[in-house]
Subunit: 384 residues, 3 copies
């Protein structure tokens, strides 16, 4: 691996814009992407979703299966998410055209001579896995759905999501950046677990699946994080309570549009039985407490506007999230990367950009792209 500190020239290749037809958008669309938290989509309900600048309709049929179809009815363009879910079909709110989960129109109630066979709207392959709904937005057949054995062990799964009002690449880069932890999260519950006690020496290497990142502490012990191409972070996450062990934490960063993205998170806590019961109770209490507070995003916006100081925010369960909001939105929704001055501690970020530059260049020029493969089991470590 050769990494030049300060080299972040992307040679005219744009990682930022991911709308239809963009280079980065075409690349991200080659992979399965999470789009919703399973538990938030009730049977018989439909919702609008926006992914990489495109709008879709997501609904859960009466069988319990979820479907991703076009945003609008083919008839007169009404938003399908306001329609009726009937069995595993969706019916338009305006004139009742009905589509099955493949997007095939199967009813035009007001037409005496129906032409349903001519009408098919877009639908996307989808999978539900570990509490998230994934879809494939690319061309051609979907690739095999990837599994994550690190998350399939015994324990408690917690799936969630949040939106952040900056480009997804800000958060991609933050995720592989261990050097920010002792600063951005200086005042956080990371202190209890030693994650922010000293400034690690950073190194990173390209692997078959993406990047392995190392943050070596003064005592010589390294925290090992993994970045799975194109947009997944895997770290050993700190417990919420000292009664639990460290967790497996995966995060997908999925563009909503160029100015915002969603993180989809799956965390596996290695607990069972009564300990699992206590964990669920703590999470329930945490969610209740957070629901009563101003949102993490609202706090970040106030801090960036100078209305409050981020340092004065009292301990709350999502404080680390607020701190990341502030740091990442604080770079601007689309930062000017040409103004940066990178150092040796930024080697992981430099490597990430080199890989994206290489892969997007290959895509642009029709050359072979790297086929990412993951080993049977990845091991992330806390370093403490």
């Amino acid at each position: 691996m050769s990494v030049q500190a300060g080299d972040n020239n992307s040679g005219g290749i744009d990682f930022i814009r991911t709308g239809p037809g963009t280079l980065a958008g075409r690349y991200l669309r080659m992979f399965w992407q999470p789009v919703y938290v399973s538990s938030e989509l009730k049977t018989g309900y439909a919702v609008p979703i926006r992914v990489m600048g495109e709008d879709f309709t997501l609904y859960r049929g009466e069988s319990g299966a979820a479907y991703v179809v076009d945003f609008r009815c083919a008839h007169r363009g009404t938003q399908l998410s306001v329609g009726w879910v009937e069995q595993d079909c969706i019916r338009c709110f305006y004139h009742g055209w009905k589509y099955d989960g493949t997007g095939q129109c199967i009813e035009q109630p007001a037409e005496s001579e129906s032409f349903v066979k001519k009408i098919k709207i877009r639908s996307c392959p989808m999978q539900e896995y570990l509490g998230l709904i994934f879809a494939y937005f690319g061309e051609g057949d979907a690739p095999e759905f990837p599994r994550y054995p690190e998350l399939e062990e015994e324990g408690e799964i917690d799936a969630g999501t949040y939106i952040r009002y900056c480009n997804y690449f800000n958060t991609l880069e933050n995720g592989i950046d261990q050097a920010h932890v002792p600063f951005t999260h200086a005042k956080s519950n990371f202190t209890k677990f030693g994650l922010n006690w000293d400034i690690p020496k950073i190194s990173a290497e390209e692997t078959d699946y993406g990047i392995a990142m190392y943050g070596t502490r003064k005592n010589g012990i390294a925290r090992v994080n993994h970045y799975l191409m194109p947009n997944i972070l895997y770290i050993k996450g700190s417990p919420e309570s000292s009664q639990e062990g460290w967790r497996e934490a995966f995060a997908w960063r999925v563009p909503v549009d160029d100015l915002s993205h969603r993180s989809f998170n799956i965390v596996l806590a290695h607990v069972s039985g009564e300990a699992a019961e206590r964990l669920r109770e703590r999470q329930r209490q945490r969610d209740e407490m957070i629901a009563k507070l101003p949102s993490a995003n609202e706090m970040a916006v106030r801090a960036l506007a100078g209305q409050i100081s981020v340092h004065d925010i009292r301990e709350r369960p999502d404080l680390v999230n607020i701190q990341d909001h502030v740091a990442q939105q604080g770079q601007g929704a689309i930062p000017d990367r040409r103004a940066e001055r990178l150092g040796r501690s930024d080697v992981a970020i430099i490597l990430l950009r080199q890989i994206w530059l290489r892969e997007l260049s290959a895509l642009a020029e029709g050359r072979t792209m790297k086929q990412w493969r993951r080993p049977n089991k990845l091991v992330a470590t806390s370093g403490v």
Copy 2:
């Protein structure tokens, strides 16, 4: 009449944009347009109004007469609506220039050598009729003010307005579309009166005044609606209470700008004496109830954002209005009509577009346009 299903090619003629100088804007400005509800403009008060992308000042003089004049003072451009109404004149808030209802400047208090004769701002002919204030925004003399004998019979008049955040043409098309009623309004008080019991067979024909539309039910009885060019709907409206009969309901759809419009509605209920008293009391209660609820537009916005389901909204007096909001804003503020797939049930919409295409083409090319004439009395029917 020849209507080709699916023909919605507008041949480069734009129905959507109505700002000054646009083709559709020039056409709409040839007709009197309602701009305000009479009862909402108090004597001695001025308000700003926006009509087809242009701003004006509307005020009611101390004589009780209303006036439409330019938005800004000719002196230094201050918005006149914040000025003082004095007798039937308006005085600017900034330096006191005073204008009469014709827009003629009649005072410049700070000028020792007044040049009022050189200063005249725009004013528009106006008429107050059945609870609405109408104005004429076109060039040259205003045409004769049209009367609506259907609304002048004995009974109770109710005049009102609402704003919808999509192009006026969405709502024009919705108004002549009987096929949406059994879907969009499936769950509504229409059920009580049979308006949404079956899917009517649609037909339409051009008339001297616009379009006559027929929705024929399974029992062979047709509901007859009328569309009066360029932007008026006349239907037989359902009672709010079973103690009343059907009503005469007129609606004008007037662009605020290209992304929003106002409906101005006049409804005549055929009641008098004590029944009229009861109706007014019910309307007072209805208005009170609605004032306490989130607005129809707010409900529609939430439904379209997926925060609530339109199907879960409880019965409320303006539920039909919310449903129309959802269907019409759900097409997008300016829909892409090229993506539509029209059928036989859309013949009225197709005819409407053909007429607009023909008339706007004639206007663009300086050819004679059709002179719309209405019969002494139009009859709309409920079909039930």
Copy 3:
């Protein structure tokens, strides 16, 4: 002096836009500008500020000194105002780069081979004076900091600020316009002091420091105001209470961006001892009362939208400010000056524009600009 009524041709010279590189922006940047109220910047805190379309970080070090530095960290562009103030330095929230008050980077904690010497961000000269923080944003060395002896006499200083959502030039012109007072402020506490009793005859002359303006009342007595180039108004301000005398009132109008600006105000009341105590107590009560009311800007926005009438707003301590908001925002954020019809009462405004036109033309063409000089003591008078 030759002033042609109605001449407001600016010959292609733009007074309005003040972003970096614009002509008016280059001109304004040649002068010290106030940016913050001293008492609102606590020791150890940083805030983001926007001045003439540029963002900066303002912080007060532990020594009590304030500093203006670049908006973003040179490392990865994070907004510095969310960082830590340490002694008189600021440390970035993301990776801890630390800068001193000159903008020199002095720490890169995660870098084993620090390159701090190569890193220096922008900093601006600043001065704190009479309760305001001033900075110099121009090129080269800052000019000598100007003092205002009229404000340095014995008495009580009150420094404050407000934002107005229109171009700064609207307010510049309003400040030198005595003719608006009997109209815009017809219903205000000016009545108590006679400021709005009659319409003054306006004259104005260019001076060594800017413009002297005279508003001569019917009794022959003139109110004398001063305009100090490029953006300062000095007037004799009315007392808040009849127990006090007239005040010295200075106001700087500083663009935030092209669509909004801040007024920074310093008022000297000629009181001392117990009278000063009573004044502070009244001001404390005034601030408390205002804090409970909808903001002046909110009231102005409602009045301009026609939701309330400015004439119906009840007496409140900032009513004059609300009236000015309405008059100036009511001209539009960037008014179309070509549509104006100026008269003899606008001679001060015409003169102001002529001076700006002349000075900006000289700047554009590299010619010598007038060097503004103020006398040792200016005298503003109430005229009553």
